[in-house]
Symmetry: C2
Subunit: 136 residues, 2 copies
DNA sequence: TAATTACCCTATCAATTTTATAGGGTAATA
DNA sequence: TATTACCCTATAAAATTGATAGGGTAATTA
């Protein structure tokens, strides 16, 4: 299941996308509009910023804005930044690969192929950009 | 991520499948062969049985066996029996539908469609039976 | 029918993850 | 220089996950 953090993150990005202006949008505004606890949101924004999905500007009239073209921001990027791997088992993850502890041999693992296929299919869907969401 | 319980469950089913005999296989044998803590396995087997994926026979020489044809047992069935929904958000789950608490209107929800498509695609892959696994 | 083997049920628990809160510090702008 | 907003660390309640414990019940074999 998607974590609440990831859901909040996606909502935040969509909010920034739908309310793009010349000036950035403050965390407080996002927090109230999307009903995300303020301090929790700050923490999420920090992750989104460190992954170059949003950028920030300090000071009065400061706030957050998207760090790149909306068409270049995918749902998978957001999910990875917040929750980590898309894959359901670590040994088929591309960006967060880890061997399965209890698995002695990946070649002969009976479930690895299926979950590899699953991962690829999930990624191909989640790679859609946030501008694509409207036209599904 | 797949829970350890679900991984154990899949391994259990595959073990039963690969070691089909006329007599059932005891939990103890499965536990040792697949390195699953005995009492933990008992608990998993209970769920698998209540979902009619395995059946059991009591007494000396008793144990577990598959409750139906291997070709009729899918990975998705096992996952649902153990972990619940396949979908990443509850409002697009078919077997475990629940409204998203923070979502006021499913029709206008900006992420619902994408995760609905994702769910369908995941299910279509996970619906493969345990006999299909070998030929991927 | 007694001993054995294996399934069944409930309770408990430690570890981890998730969700959230608190408080103060730093940088930039009006 | 006051204000606004971002930055950082610590803490903690709640939920989930993974596992253990112990005894009870049913069925088979000798």
């Amino acid at each position: 299941m998607l974590s609440k953090r990831a859901k909040y993150a996606i909502k935040t990005i969509l909010f920034l996308h739908e309310n793009q202006r010349h000036t950035p949008i403050s965390a407080k505004v996002i927090s109230e509009a999307e009903k995300i606890p303020y301090k929790f949101l700050e923490n999420i924004l920090r992750d989104l910023k460190s992954h170059q999905i949003v950028k920030s500007l300090r000071g009065a009239e400061g706030g957050y804005s998207l760090a790149k073209e909306p068409s270049q921001i995918s749902v998978s990027q957001i999910m990875r930044a917040i929750d980590g791997p898309i894959a359901l088992i670590p040994c088929v993850s591309e960006k967060f690969y880890e061997p399965c502890l209890e698995c002695t041999d990946e070649e002969t693992c009976r479930i690895r192929k299926l979950f590899g296929i699953l991962r690829n299919e999930m990624v191909s869907i989640l790679d859609k950009s946030i501008t694509d969401l409207a036209s599904l």
